[in-house]
């Protein structure tokens, strides 16, 4: 199967700081999505981004499929950004492969 590695595993930020989360994957993929898991355990779709760059408010994401990585940028972080961020990739094998996540804690 495809290996998905996320870094860093843990991140502590002061409110207002910026951060970059990284997702590396081991093989060609057809789909890549970023999720935020909130404190209640729900997986919230952030980006569907198999390639290119997208922005949504303070968040943006870039996937360079040829180099097998994706980046999630969080600018001007807020305490509500806290939680776990997952990257998941989809190949032709009918399933998503999830990374282990980056646990973000934004302190006021």
């Amino acid at each position: 199967g495809i290996q998905v590695e996320q870094s860093p595993p843990d991140l502590i930020l002061q409110e207002g700081a910026n951060s970059t989360l990284r997702c590396n994957f081991s093989d060609s993929v057809n789909n890549l999505q970023w999720f935020h898991q909130n404190p209640w355990g729900q997986l919230i779709n952030l980006f569907y981004i198999p390639s290119g760059t997208k922005q949504n408010g303070r968040l943006s994401a870039t996937t360079v499929a040829t180099e097998r990585y994706s980046l999630l940028y969080i600018s001007s972080s807020q305490t509500t950004d806290s939680g776990v961020y997952f990257c998941a990739v989809f190949s032709n094998f009918n399933k998503f492969y999830f990374g282990s996540g980056t646990k973000l804690n934004v302190k006021p």
Partner: protein
């Protein structure tokens, strides 16, 4: 915005009991999935379902598990005889044509006691 709906949000069951977790995928989607996440761990694939049959399953998805789409709208996961280690958050997901964006439900937290 369309969403994937799961019920119940939380279920507590005794070891050995059968449970059925329910999901209503987005109405025009074709591909359906179940995933689970043991507390503090990775999200793990269980099974994918397309055209009324299982298209792929993981080694976790043994004979104790089954899936069904009984009425064209609901998508269910049944665990026949629950074990303590089945305690986890279970997520249902659906997507349109292959490789398009997948949407996840809010999850069912299953606690086996």
């Amino acid at each position: 915005e369309p969403e994937v709906t799961q019920t119940p949000s939380h279920q507590v069951t005794q070891m050995g009991q059968e449970v059925i977790l329910r999901c209503v995928p987005i109405s025009n989607h074709l591909y359906f999935y179940w995933y689970r996440q043991i507390l503090g761990q990775k999200v793990e694939f269980l099974v994918s379902f397309y055209n009324n049959e299982i298209s792929e399953k993981s080694e976790i998805f043994d004979d104790q598990f089954s899936v069904e789409r009984p009425d064209g709208s609901n998508f269910t996961l049944k665990i026949r005889s629950t074990k303590l280690e089945d305690s986890a958050m279970y997520f249902c997901a659906s997507s349109g044509p292959m490789n398009t964006e997948a949407f996840f439900g809010q999850g069912t937290r299953l606690t086996v006691v």
